[in-house]
Symmetry: C2
Amino acid sequence: MLLDARDLDQRAAYRLMIGSIVPRAIAWVSTLSADGTVNLAPFSFFTGITSSPPSLVFSAIRRSGAHKDTRANVEATGEFVVNVVGEGVAEAMNQTSEELPPDVDELAHAGLTPLSSARVRPPRVAESPIQMECRLDRLVEVGQGPGAATLVIGEILAWHIRDDLYDPERARIRVDRLQAVGRLAGDWYTRTRDQFELTRPNPTYQGR
Amino acid sequence: MLLDARDLDQRAAYRLMIGSIVPRAIAWVSTLSADGTVNLAPFSFFTGITSSPPSLVFSAIRRSGAHKDTRANVEATGEFVVNVVGEGVAEAMNQTSEELPPDVDELAHAGLTPLSSARVRPPRVAESPIQMECRLDRLVEVGQGPGAATLVIGEILAWHIRDDLYDPERARIRVDRLQAVGRLAGDWYTRTRDQFELTRPNPTYQGR
């Protein structure tokens, strides 16, 4: 069946997007406001860009026209941490999707443990299996109206990796042990334990 | 453990990125060259941006400094189709990751069936369960050197959805039936059948 975007309102189009672009990695982003309050929120319009330098992007969609705290904090401070969501923190991540006033420490509110970062000021989430410290590269505005979005492009300055998830011999992350959680549509998520391998016909240099 | 990006070369950083940003949705992108040759290639640095208007983004990383055919075609024609990768087309998708000369029809080469699109010129892949027709919004250059990338930002003009995957009552995609495939690190992929639900503490308007 064909659905033309001209016949869909914003909510209908959003439903189709979150059902078509799956599974999505989750950026659980910790930031500091200008006055030092910790903010923590999940974003599933999130992906990598390049490793030259290591760069990632997530989309912060306005809510009823207002910028999210995360976007305001990143703009004010230029720094954020992306915490990876493993199965063990999925419930806590979900709690932090609640909209709370900007002066509430959402990391503490969710019963999580802050850890100091090495190269940026926002704290990391101790319970997260991998944390990436990032510096803002730039903000890119996309779309119009109350649902317009900001692409937050960041450079990864440092990785913190739980020891058992790193394979020093091959200098890679043990994704078979990570138990990362992926976002689907609505309230649904997927585990990543059901893995399979496909050998590329013509390997490139990247990551090999 | 802490890994500082200043101590990592481009390949090492890439390995960490593809192991940390998981699972990733796959954009299997069909384009036409200026002279009409079909190109088809998978990109897993891919996500949504906003539904106002419906917009998505994927990152095309240069290979040894050269632009990929997809990026050149999108720039030349302003159009592309994102085909969703279900389990049934995972092997075919993997075949199209091979680098072939720009004059080879990669859709035919992989034994796939082209279908005309409704609003753009590049064909859709019939075997793909969902196809999104897109018009180029803009290209954003990120990074430096031979591994620099281009963010390809597109507006979704139309969805084609396999009938059994659409729930007309709730106007949504049946992700429980989609069997989408997610990208992990190296040659590894995840199925998305192992799903679970988390009820949001404070639902927003979006997609609900």
